[in-house]
């Protein structure tokens, strides 16, 4: 998986790409632990083709951190297969989920 950072309306956007599973999520975890990720954040999942519980667990953990810091965390552009994992586990109730980045950024 690859991670790209950008900014929209002053909000950090993490664009993830590829597969978010047990093999790749350590890379995402390390990235979240090293850089400073305070402030509101949008995760762009458009290029994520597959996610399993390992990737989901990391996003849930980030949601908890953001919640206790009282900062927004928004997910955008998940495909149907990714959305299904959030729905099956009810994890979609922990996130603000948007169809596009502009809407997630409040435009």
């Amino acid at each position: 998986m690859n991670i790209a950072e950008s900014t929209i309306n002053g909000i950090k956007v993490l664009s993830l790409e590829g597969v978010l599973n047990a093999a790749s999520s350590p890379k995402f975890k390390a990235y979240l632990e090293t850089a400073d990720h305070s402030g509101p954040m949008i995760i762009n999942l458009e290029q994520v083709e597959f996610i399993d519980s390992s990737g989901l667990g990391l996003l849930v953990r980030l949601a908890r951190q953001k919640k206790s810091a009282n900062e927004a965390l928004k997910l955008a552009k998940m495909n149907d297969r990714v959305k299904r994992v959030f729905e099956i586990t009810q994890a979609h109730s922990l996130f603000d989920i948007y169809d596009d980045i502009q809407a997630a950024a409040g435009n």
Binding site: A23, S53, R61, R64
Partner: protein, 142 residues
């Protein structure tokens, strides 16, 4: 039940993607051949995700004292159902763990929960020193 394929993979996390892809491909070929009236891609994703979870568990909870460990995945067909199995040499485990309490933001414990949500039948049998986790999904009711 007729076996479509059996694959033995090295128990390494990177191979969970291969296992999951085998599962998706097998399920899609099976569903297409049966003229499945539902969504073939979703049926493929069901097996892709379930096998990804099961294979990952087989790797994560392997017995570190056993060297050169492998995990075997198998697919068996019936006229109206496909069954995937994942066989490892781990300690026996409970396939009914407590459900994750989503409001508590759990980081783990989703694997078997997802498998149960996706599949119509889940069972685990102990064969010798092995766990055989079987996951069955119907394409139509008999």
């Amino acid at each position: 039940m007729t076996q479509i394929l059996s694959a033995t993979l090295k128990a390494e996390l990177r191979n969970s993607r291969i296992a999951a892809n085998i599962a998706r491909s097998t399920a899609e070929v099976f569903a297409e051949e049966r003229n499945f009236s539902g969504n073939v891609q979703e049926f493929g994703h069901t097996f892709e995700l379930a096998v990804s979870e099961a294979f990952t568990n087989s790797v994560n909870y392997r017995d570190p004292s056993i060297k050169d460990i492998t995990v075997t995945i198998g697919f068996e067909e019936e006229s109206n159902a496909l069954t995937a199995s994942v066989t490892d040499r781990n300690a026996p485990f409970n396939i009914h763990p407590p459900e994750p309490e989503i409001t508590e933001y759990p980081e783990g414990g989703f694997g078997l929960f997802i498998i149960w949500k996706l599949m119509d039948e889940v069972s685990c049998s102990r064969e010798g020193q092995r766990n055989v986790l079987s996951m069955k999904k119907f394409i139509s009711r008999p």
